[in-house]
Amino acid sequence: MSLKDRVADILGKDLVALNEFRGDLCIEVPKGRIVQVLAKLKEEGGFDFLSDLFGVDNLDLYAKAAKKKKKSQEESEDTGETKGKESVQPRFEVIYLLLSLSTNERLQVMVRVPEDDLELPTVTGLWKAANWPEREVFDMFGIRFKGHPNLRRLLMWDEFQDHPLRKDYPLEGKGEERHLNYDIA
C-alpha cells in the first residue's frame, strides 16, 4: 500500500486535501483536529519523529491570484456570472514535517489558520521538539499555541511589537530599536 493510501486510510474524513509534488506528500487537515490527527499519525502511521514545524503567510499569494483573476475577468468582459462568490481563504498555514524512522517516509501536515482566530493547540505533549519551533511561529507570525509551557518570543526581543515574517512587514523593518532601560541612580 502506498503512503498516500495509508494516510488516507488512517485519517478517514479528517483528510481535507492531499497534494503531491516531486514526491513530497502534503496533506491538509482541519484546524480543530490537529492534535488528534498528529497523535493518530504517530501511533498508527509510524510517523514518530517531528522534524520541523513552521508557518507560512499566504497574503501575497492570494493577492496575486486575485489580481490575475481580475485581469482575466476584465479581458474576457464577462457578464458577471461568477461575481460575489469569493470565499475568504485563511491567511496562514502551519506545516508540520513528520518523519517515520522505520520506513524513512516524510509527510507534510498542513493546517490553515484564519487571521481572526490565530490560535492552535500545542503539540509539545506529543513531541518535546515542538517547543522552540512553536515559539518561533508565535514570534514570526503571531499564531498563539494554546497550552504551550513557555510561549514567549524566541528570536526577537520581548518588547518587539510586530511579527517580522508576515508578508506585510517591510524587509527593512519599521525602525525599531532595542532600548535597554537601565535606571542608573
Partner: protein, 383 residues
C-alpha cells in the same frame, strides 16, 4: 539596583526565592561559542536550571531569502553554519534542484561529495579541538587546526574562498577539482590521520579527559528522538541513523562506510563518534575520488539551467546530513523568480532546545563541556 536586575532578568520569568544563585553566562563570554546566552540558577556548583536565550545573531535570513532570487540567496547560506559552509551551499542547491526536478551530472555530484566530506572533517576537527581547549587540553587543538588550514587551502584553490565558500551553483559545480588536489590529497590524507591519531593518543585514554567526559550529560535514545536530535548527538545515544544511508542523495549509495555509534550519549561518546566519523569521511573521499577518476576528463560539470530560475508552483523539503545532523530546506515557490517562503531546519536548533534537560543536575564546569560537545553554531541557530 533591584530595578536594574529586574530589567536584565526580564526574560527569565519569575525568580524563585531560595538559596540559589542566578548566574548569567554570555552572550559575550570566552567560554560560549558564538553569541549564546544561558541563564543558570545554581545551588553551589550544581545547576538547578539553565535557560538558553537565543536570537543574538538573528539576521532574518528567511525574510532575506523571500526578497532575493534563487541564485542570490546562495552566498547567504554560507553564513548559517560557518564551520562547514559547503554543506549548507550544497543542501540549498539540492533543494532548489529538487524543486526544479533537475538531476546533476555525476562528476558534479562526486565533486560535491568530496568537498562536503572535507568540510565535515574540518567541522569535526574544530568541534573536537575546541572541546579539548574548553577542558584544558590545548595541544590537540593545534594538531587539528593545522590540518584544517590545509583543507581550507583546497577550498581556496577550488572556489577562491576559505570560510564563506559559496561553492557550486544551482545545477552543478562551477569548476573541476583543482590540479593541485591530485597531489595534495594523498599527502593530506596521511597527515589528517596522523593528527587524529595523535589527538586520540593524547585524549581518549587520558585519565583527566575520561573523568571530565565519561558519564557527563548522559542522554537516552528515546528522549533524544523526542527532542528531535539528529546527527552525531543522536548517534552518540546509540541510534544508528544517518541520512547518507537512510535517504541516500548524491552518490552516497555507491560508497562503503560505517556509521559509528555510541551508547550512553555522554560527552565522551559524542567525542568518539566525531573522531570515528572523520575516519569514515576520509574513506568516503578516497572512494569518491576513485569514482571521479573513472569519469572522462571532459565530462559535464553543470546541467543547463536558465539564467533566471523560475520553478513551478509547489513546495518541497529536502534534507541532507550536515556535520551536525539533519540540515533541511523547505522551499515554497509561487512560480516567480523569488522563493515565496524558505524555511531552514538547522540541526543544532533542536539539540540546543534540550539544553536544560542535558545539564540539569550537572556542575557548572560540565555545562561548558556539554556546550562544546553539542557544537552549537550561533549562525545556523538564529539564522
Amino acid at each position: 539596583m533591584a530595578k536594574q536586575l529586574e530589567t536584565i532578568c526580564i526574560t527569565t520569568g519569575p525568580v524563585e526565592v531560595g538559596d540559589y544563585v542566578t548566574l548569567n553566562i554570555g552572550p559575550i563570554h570566552p567560554a560560549m561559542h558564538g553569541t549564546l546566552r544561558v541563564i543558570t540558577k545554581t545551588d553551589g556548583e550544581t545547576i538547578v536550571s539553565a535557560k538558553p536565550e537565543i536570537g543574538y545573531l538573528h539576521r532574518g535570513v528567511e525574510k532575506l531569502g523571500e526578497n532575493l532570487t534563487y541564485s542570490q540567496f546562495l552566498p547567504i547560506t554560507d553564513r548559517l553554519n560557518y564551520c562547514s559552509a559547503i554543506c549548507n551551499n550544497v543542501a540549498y542547491e539540492m533543494a532548489v534542484e529538487k524543486l526544479l526536478g533537475l538531476q546533476v551530472p555525476p562528476k558534479a555530484q562526486l565533486i560535491r561529495m568530496i568537498m562536503m566530506e572535507l568540510a565535515r572533517i574540518a567541522d569535526h576537527q574544530v568541534c573536537v579541538g575546541i572541546l579539548g581547549v574548553d577542558l584544558g587540553a590545548l595541544t590537540p587543538f593545534f594538531y587539528l587546526i593545522i590540518q584544517r588550514e590545509e583543507i581550507y587551502e583546497i577550498f581556496e584553490w577550488h572556489h577562491g574562498a576559505r570560510l564563506t565558500n559559496s561553492m557550486g551553483a544551482i545545477g552543478g559545480v562551477e569548476a573541476d577539482l583543482p590540479e593541485r588536489f591530485h597531489e595534495k590529497w594523498p599527502k593530506l590524507r596521511d597527515t589528517i590521520r596522523k593528527a587524529n591519531d595523535e589527538t586520540d593518543k593524547l585524549l581518549t585514554h587520558n585519565r583527566i579527559w575520561m573523568d571530565r567526559t565519561i558519564g557527563v550529560n548522559a542522554f537516552c535514545a528515546d528522549d533524544a528522538l523526542n527532542w528531535g536530535f539528529t546527527g552525531p548527538m543522536l548517534r552518540a545515544c546509540g541510534v544508528k541513523r544517518d541520512l547518507r544511508k537512510e535517504e541516500p542523495y548524491l552518490m552516497y549509495d555507491e560508497v562503503n562506510f560505517e556509521i559509528p555509534t555510541g551508547k550512553h550519549g555522554d560527552v565522551f561518546d559524542r567525542y568518539m563518534v566525531r573522531m570515528l566519523e572523520m575516519e569514515e569521511s576520509v574513506k568516503i573521499i578516497d572512494q569518491a575520488y576513485a569514482l571521479y577518476k573513472e569519469l572522462p576528463e571532459d565530462a559535464p560539470l553543470m546541467k543547463k539551467v536558465p539564467k533566471i530560475i523560475k520553478p513551478p508552483e509547489g513546495q518541497i523539503y529536502h534534507a541532507i546530513e550536515s556535520p551536525n545532523g539533519e540540515l533541511g530546506f523547505f522551499i515554497k515557490s509561487d512560480g516567480s523568480d523569488k522563493p515565496y517562503r524558505i524555511k531552514i531546519r538547522p540541526p543544532c536548533y533542536m539539540v540546543y532546545q534540550a539544553f536544560e534537560d542535558l545539564v540539569k543536575g550537572e556542575m557548572i564546569s560540565d555545562l561548558i563541556a556539554c556546550l562544546s560537545s553539542l557544537n552549537v553554531i550561533a549562525g545556523e541557530l538564529d539564522r
